[in-house]
Symmetry: C2
Subunit: 387 residues, 2 copies
C-alpha cells in the first residue's frame, strides 16, 4: 500500500439556498480542486461522489457520472459511495483505496448536497431502520434527543453543559469564508433560549439544513510534488459499524463504531489521541460531538461535556474541535460535509486557515457519522515529511 496525499481541494460557500444546480455545484469544486493542484483533467483516473439526498430531492442517481460529465471528465471511472450522513468520508475512503493500491494515480472525492430542493428531514430519517425505528416516529433528531436526555440524566449534566459545543463552533466559523454562520456569535444562554426542537434538543444544538459541495484530489505521496509544495498525507483511513438500531446497542451512549474506527486509525498511524492536534468532529448535534470525544478517547465516559465547558475544545485548548465552524456553524450539507472537513484539515495543516489558523498543527483528525452512530469513518491527516 503506497502512501497517499491530498494535493488539491475545492469548496464553495455553504448557503441556505444555492442557485446553481447539484451538478454545477459538484463540477465547480472538482474543477477548483484540479486548478488548486495544477492538475490536468486528463490525468484524473477516478471520481467518487457522495450525495445522500439526490435520489429523492433531485430525482437523480449516478451523481458521480453526472458530475464527471459536467466537469469535463466524461470517460473517467465515476462511482457513488454512500454511508448516509457520513457519505463524504466513504467517497474519500474509496479514493484513498484506489490510489493506495495503485489502481489509479489521481482520484477525486467529491461531496454535494442541495437540501433546499425539497423537504430533507423525512429523507434523512431513512438512515434509521425503516422497519423498526421509523414506524415508531423516530427521526435522526429524535434519536439524538434520546441520546442527549439519557446522557444528561446519567451523568447529571447541567442544563447548559452541552451548549459550549455550539458556542465554540459559532465562534470558530467567524473567519471561515465558506461557513454559513460567519456572523453569528452565540452564548450558552442563547442556546438555552433557542426554540425546543425535540426535547431536550434546542435549535442551537442542531446543525443547519443547507447547500454545499467540496472536493479533494488525492495522489501518491511520491508524486505529490508535481501538484503541490505542501502535500498533506492521509495517515489513516478506517470505517466501522454498530448495531443498526439504537435500541439494540448495549450502551447507546458508547458509540462503538466511533471507538472501533478511531482505534483502527490510531493503530494505522501509530498515534495516540494525545498526539492529535485538532479534531473535526461530526457535531451534527451537540450530543454527538460530546459522545464522539469520549468514544475517540479524548475524554472518559460522562466527561466529554466538561472538555467543552472548560474551554479545552477552543482553538487554544487541549483538543480544538470544529476549528472552521464544524457541522454546527460551517453547515452540514450532508453528502458534502466530510469533504469540507477534509479541506479544512488540509488548510490547517498547510497554514491556510486564515483567522482560524492553529499554531503549527501536525496531525488533524476527522470523524464522520452515518445515521445515529451506525457507520463511522475516521481519517487522520498529517504534514508530509518535507511538506
Amino acid at each position: 500500500m503506497r502512501p497517499v496525499a491530498v494535493v488539491g481541494f475545492g469548496q464553495i460557500p455553504v448557503v441556505k439556498q444555492q442557485r446553481a444546480t447539484l451538478r454545477q455545484m459538484g463540477a465547480t469544486v472538482v474543477q477548483e480542486a484540479l486548478t488548486n493542484a495544477g492538475a490536468d483533467p486528463g490525468a484524473v483516473g477516478a471520481l467518487y461522489a457522495s450525495s445522500m439526498l439526490a435520489d429523492e430531492l433531485q430525482g437523480q442517481k449516478q451523481v458521480a457520472a453526472l458530475i464527471a460529465d459536467e466537469a469535463g471528465l466524461a470517460g473517467v471511472e465515476a462511482l457513488d459511495v454512500r454511508a448516509a450522513t457520513a457519505g463524504g468520508a466513504a467517497a474519500l475512503r474509496m479514493a484513498w483505496l484506489a490510489v493506495a493500491c495503485g489502481a489509479v494515480d489521481l482520484a477525486v472525492a467529491v461531496g454535494v448536497e442541495k437540501m433546499s430542493d425539497g423537504i430533507p428531514t423525512p429523507v434523512l430519517a431513512k438512515a434509521l431502520d425503516a422497519q423498526r425505528e421509523v414506524p415508531d416516529g423516530a427521526t435522526l433528531i429524535s434519536q439524538n434527543a434520546l441520546l442527549m436526555a439519557l446522557y444528561r440524566e446519567r451523568y447529571a449534566v447541567p442544563a447548559d453543559g452541552l451548549a459550549h459545543f455550539a458556542v465554540n463552533a459559532h465562534a470558530n466559523a467567524r473567519h471561515n469564508p465558506n461557513a454559513l454562520f460567519r456572523n453569528k456569535a452565540i452564548t450558552p444562554a442563547d442556546v438555552l433560549a433557542s426554540r425546543l426542537i425535540s426535547p431536550p434538543i434546542r435549535l442551537l444544538d442542531c446543525s443547519p439544513i443547507c447547500d454545499g459541495a467540496a472536493a479533494v484530489l488525492l495522489a501518491p505521496l511520491d508524486d505529490s510534488i508535481r501538484y503541490t509544495k505542501a502535500p498533506v498525507r492521509i495517515l489513516a483511513s478506517s470505517a466501522a459499524s454498530d448495531r443498526f438500531r439504537v435500541a439494540d446497542r448495549l450502551d447507546p451512549l458508547a458509540l462503538e463504531a466511533a471507538r472501533r474506527s478511531a482505534q483502527a486509525a490510531y493503530t494505522q498511524a501509530s498515534l495516540t489521541p494525545a498526539e492529535i492536534d485538532f479534531y473535526e468532529v461530526h457535531d451534527a448535534f451537540s450530543i454527538m460531538a460530546c459522545l464522539l470525544l469520549e468514544a475517540a478517547g479524548f475524554a472518559a465516559p460522562g466527561e466529554g461535556w466538561c472538555l467543552a465547558a472548560d474551554g479545552e475544545i477552543r482553538p487554544d485548548g487541549r483538543i480544538p474541535l470544529s476549528t472552521r465552524g464544524g457541522l454546527k456553524a460551517r453547515g452540514h450539507p450532508i453528502g458534502a460535509t466530510a469533504l469540507y472537513q477534509a479541506c479544512e484539515i488540509v488548510q490547517q495543516l498547510i497554514g491556510q486557515a486564515g483567522g482560524n489558523q492553529l499554531d503549527n498543527p501536525r496531525v488533524g483528525m476527522m470523524q464522520s457519522v452515518g445515521g445515529a452512530g451506525v457507520t463511522v469513518l475516521t481519517h487522520l491527516f498529517g504534514v508530509a515529511a518535507g511538506g
Copy 2:
C-alpha cells in the same frame, strides 16, 4: 497491489416476489458466502453493498450496515457503493480495491434488490438525467428503444435479428436453479409476437422486474487456500463513464464507457477478446447485449447481432453469453445482478455450473452497465494457477 481471489459465493433464487425482507435476503447470501468458504464471520474486514432502489422502495439507506447487522457482522466496515443498474459491480470493485491494497484481508460484496415492494420503473429512470432527459419522458426502456431503433435502421437488421439474444438466455436458464425463467424456452417468433413495450422493444427483449440477492467473498490469492481448493482470481477490475445524456454522445451506438472499461481490463489482464472463454453480458435489453458485444471487441460495429443470429453466443459458440440465463432469464434484480454474474462466472470456472457447464473455461468476463450506458464496469476472472 496483491492478487485477489473469490473464495466464496452465495445466491438465492431470483423470484417475482420474495417473502423475506431486504435485510434478510442480504444477510442470507452473505452467510452463505461465508459458509461456502468456511470463513469465520469474525474474520470479515469489510462489507460493501449495492441496492439501487432501497431508498425509494424500502425507505432505507445504509443498506450495507443493515445487512451487516442482520448477518451478525455488526462492527465491520460497511459502506454502500452505487452505479445505478451497475451497482453490484461497483461493490465488487470496492471489495477488490480493499483486499488488493491490503486494507482488509477478507471482504464481502453483496447486492440486493426487492423490486416487488413498489413501482420500480420511475425509480429506475432516475439513472437518467433528471433535468435533461426525464422531463422529456425518457425512461431506461425508452432510451434503449431509441438505441434499438437506430441500430436496426443504420445496419438494416431484420425484425428478428436481435431476438436470438433472448432465445439464448432463456435456453441457458434451464439448468440454473436460481433463474427466474427456468422453464420458459422461447423462439424468435415468440419474441416478435410478444407485447410491444416501447417500440421497437417488445416484452421478450426486456429483462424482468424481480427480487434477488447475491454475494461474493474476496481474499488475497495467497491466503485463498484457507478457504477453498478452487480459488478464482480476479484478473481485472475497471470502470469508465460516458457523456451522461445519450443525446450528447457522438455516436450513441458506440458504448464508449464499455469500450474504455473493456480495454482497461484487457490491458490489466494482458488478454485479448479472443482469449475470453465466456461473457456474462448486461443483457437488460437485447440491444444492450448487442452493443456491448461490439464495444468490448467481440464484433465489429453493426455485426453484434450476427454473432447471435449465427449461434456464436450459445454455449458451444465462439463467445458464449449469459451462460446461466443472464439478466434476461436468470433475472435482473438491479443491485444484485452483477453479483449473480460474479457467482455464475465462479461456478463456471470451478466446474459447478451443472447442466450449463462449459467445457473447461479458463477466463470469464462480465460487464455491468449503469443507466443507458453511462457507467460501465468490466471484471475478468480466471482459474487461479494450481486451482
